[in-house]
Each structure stands twice: as structure tokens, then as C-alpha cells.
Amino acid sequence: MHVHGLHPLVKPALLLLGLLPMAWMIVAVFAGQAGANPVEYLTHESGQWGLRLMLVTLAMTPLRRMTGWTFPIRLRRMIGLLAFSYVVLHFLVFALFDHMLNPATIADDVINRPYILMGFLALLLLIPLAVTSTNAWMRRLGRRWKQLHKLVYLIAVLGVLHFLLLVRADPWEPLIYGAILAVLLLLRLPTPAFLRNRATAS
């Protein structure tokens, strides 16, 4: 196994790359390039980027297992926080432009619309993960940190359901996200015994 540090520019570069879609969305809205309904554009784009980045974080462990590289795990926290940022933006657009920050109508939507409930639960569950993403919290929680952060599996499922329950006639797009998520979760299952034996033998 290779043990060496990341190039000091990798993380800043990744951060900029991850913020690029957000910058593009905001520029598009102000430049009048976001179509006739810029709020809908912001909502859809921020939600999709949140989900995409969440899937990227879930790909890091399988990637390390398959390649032996360690850098995916070192970048995972930043990608997860980027995903969280897009989900927060997604919620803020909804709360501000759809509800003018009125808690009563937001609550009405959360309670009465299952797809909004799914999204809202995903957001709530992400908050403790974002808060405990620091090194200090990792040390403080020890083994429990890992258990806590397994919530991300549930959150990703909620995210895909949130998308799936929203679409009307044509569910192929959320189903693609769902299929990718299913593969990423299946890769986490314990390796079947006969494969494991062969791996040990070689």
C-alpha cells in the first residue's frame, strides 16, 4: 500500500471544482440564462447536485477497496460537506421562494407531501453528520462516529425516494440514481465466502 500525502493543492482544487456548479447556477440566474422559471431551475439543480455528490461520497469506500488507494477516503469529508451545502441550498430555495420563510406553510408541506417529508428527513439527518465531520468530533466519538455516519446510507435512500415520488410520468432519471445507489450499497455487502477464499489463496 502506498502511504504518502496528498499534494497540497488537491483539496483546494477539489473544493473549487465542487463549488463550480453552485457558482454556475447563481451566475445563470443573474444572467437570465436559467430559463423562464429560475426558482425551479435552482431547486432542481441544487437537489440533483446534492444527490450526485452524496453518491460520490458513497463511491469512495468501494473505490479504495478495489484499488487500494487511500486518497478517496481523505477526500470523502470534503465531498460530503459539499453535498450537504447543495442540500442546504436546495432547502433554502424552497423555504425562501416557495414559502417566504413561513414556518406554518413549510410544516404543512412537510407533513402532507411524502416526497417533501423524505427530503426534509434527509436534511435533518445530514446535520449531525456535518457537525461531527471534524477531527475533534471523530476523536471524541471514537467507534461510535463510524456507527453514526452509517446514517448516510439511509439519507441517500431518502434522497432517491424524494426524487422518485416527485416525478410524474417518467421515472427513469430518479431510477438511474436509485440503481447507482443500489450498486454502491451492494458493494458493501460482505464478500461471499468462495470469493474470499480464492482471494486469500492467490
Binding site: A36, N37, F97, R113, R168
Partner: protein, 268 residues
């Protein structure tokens, strides 16, 4: 092409119309795809509006096939600036050019058995790519109105926007506009009118009977299962505004539904 002679109408709203750009670039026309930008991208190159004819049959004295010219030319074109409210909770103000639906339908002399009108959109996979292959929507797109709704003075067959012929993506060359109902009731690219005794099944009612009924009158008090209808986003604005009963046409159309319970999804 602009129309030479379009009369103003007392039914027009004084609200500021949306731009032609907004009206013709943000469309639900699933025959061209599910994206709002698919119709503008595909329809102008694929939809052949000339020649165009509409078949009329069912419970009427004058069934037959009428050309676009037969249908439209005998009537004075009017500009009707209407509010347009989509079931997805967005809205626009659209300066339609059209003719009263009643004037056209009367020429076919519906019989006393004609209780409803079924209206169909074109089905031609060569002109409408999303009709090719498997689809979750049973084509053609079918809409229906009660005969008194169709004969109401607010109901029109629209043939233009902003004094010009309809853009393909807005349902050229002729479509229905029923401004107190959700936009999906306003079928596009009309090819068939059928007078019936039985209530027709409209497409969305067939696809999702738990979500869509026959009437689909704009009603802020009855939510869609997946979203509230209490407010709407007028295209061009960021914040939402309150949705009005019957899309603000309550005074004109409430009589049509006297005695019906409109507070539940039953008569949705």
C-alpha cells in the same frame, strides 16, 4: 405570420402579459418530451401544420372533416388576454388570439344527446417523437369538457399568441384554452372533436386517477396529492402569490358548478 384583423375582448385581463420568449420556451407538451425546453427544441422542426384538418363526429348533425380554414375563417379573431394556471403551481398571462369555442361547436349542431365534448391532440410519431416506442402515456392526448363548459363564452379555440400564429410548441395550429381550469385541460394541436353522451376519460385521469379528475377547475382549497394549490409562481417573479378560485374567473363560471361540492377531491 401576423393576423390582419384581431378584435379586442372584454374578457381580457389588464394584467401584464408574459413575454413571448417565456410563453414559447417553457412548455409542457409531452409529445415532444418531459422537459420544459423539449417542445421549443423539437416541435418547430417536426410539427407540420399545413395542411391541417379536424375531424368532427359523435352526437351532432354536421359531422365531417373540416380544414383549418373551414373552422377558423368564418369567425372574427379576438385577442383574449387570459391568466393561465398550470397544475404544477406556476402561472402566466397569455395574450391568446382565438375564436369562441361555442361559435365553432354550434356550426356542427350538437344533438340533445351531446352532453360532453371530447377533444383530441394529434397522434403521429413522425411529428411527435415522444409518441415513438414505449411510453407511460397512452396516446393520443385526450381532453374532455361538459358541453356547457365548452359553450361558455370564456372557452376559446386559440390559433395565435401576440397577434401571430401559434408557435408549434404552444400547440399550433389550433388548441383549446379554458382559462378557469388547470392548463393540462387545454389540449394542443387539435385534430378531433367528438360529441358524446358519456363523460369522456381525459388522459391524466387515465394515467393517475388518484391525482386527476375530469373537471380540474383551478381551486386553491383542494391540494394536489403532491403539492398545495393555494399559491402559484407567476413566471417572471421569484415569490409566489395566492391562487384565486377558478383562476380569478369565479364571477363568470361559478354558476356552471352550482350545487356541486367543490371543497373535496370528489369533483376535482
Amino acid at each position: 405570420r401576423p393576423f390582419p384583423d384581431v378584435a379586442p375582448s372584454e374578457f381580457s385581463t389588464s394584467a401584464e402579459p408574459n413575454s413571448l420568449e417565456d410563453i414559447s420556451s417553457y412548455n409542457n407538451f409531452y409529445e415532444y418530451g418531459m422537459g420544459k425546453d423539449d417542445p421549443k427544441r423539437l416541435a418547430p422542426g417536426l410539427l407540420r401544420v399545413e395542411p391541417w384538418s379536424v375531424e368532427v363526429d359523435g352526437e351532432c348533425e354536421n359531422p365531417g372533416t373540416y380544414t383549418y380554414e373551414d373552422l377558423v375563417r368564418p369567425h372574427q379573431l379576438e385577442e383574449r388576454i387570459y391568466r393561465f394556471r398550470c397544475v404544477e403551481a406556476w402561472s402566466m398571462v397569455i395574450p391568446w388570439v382565438g375564436i369562441p369555442m361555442a361559435d365553432v361547436l354550434k356550426r356542427f349542431q350538437p344533438t340533445s344527446r351531446a352532453k360532453y365534448v371530447e377533444l383530441r391532440t394529434l397522434q403521429d410519431p413522425e411529428q411527435m417523437p415522444a409518441q415513438r416506442g414505449s411510453s407511460s402515456i397512452p396516446w393520443p392526448y385526450v381532453e374532455g369538457l361538459r358541453i356547457d363548459e365548452a359553450m361558455h363564452p370564456l372557452s376559446i379555440f386559440a390559433v395565435g399568441i401576440y397577434g401571430r400564429e401559434l408557435p408549434a410548441q404552444n400547440g399550433a395550429p389550433i388548441r383549446l384554452v379554458v382559462p378557469w381550469k388547470y392548463g393540462f385541460k387545454c389540449g394542443k394541436s387539435l385534430v378531433k372533436i367528438r360529441f358524446t353522451e358519456e363523460q369522456p376519460k381525459n388522459t391524466w385521469q387515465v394515467i393517475a386517477p388518484n391525482e386527476y379528475g375530469f373537471y380540474a377547475n383551478v381551486n386553491p382549497n383542494v391540494s394536489h396529492p403532491r403539492w398545495s394549490q393555494a399559491r402559484e409562481r407567476r413566471i417572471g417573479r421569484f415569490f409566489r402569490q395566492d391562487t384565486l378560485m377558478f383562476n380569478g374567473y369565479e364571477e363568470e363560471v361559478a354558476d356552471l358548478y352550482a350545487g356541486m361540492d367543490l371543497s373535496t377531491r370528489q369533483n376535482w
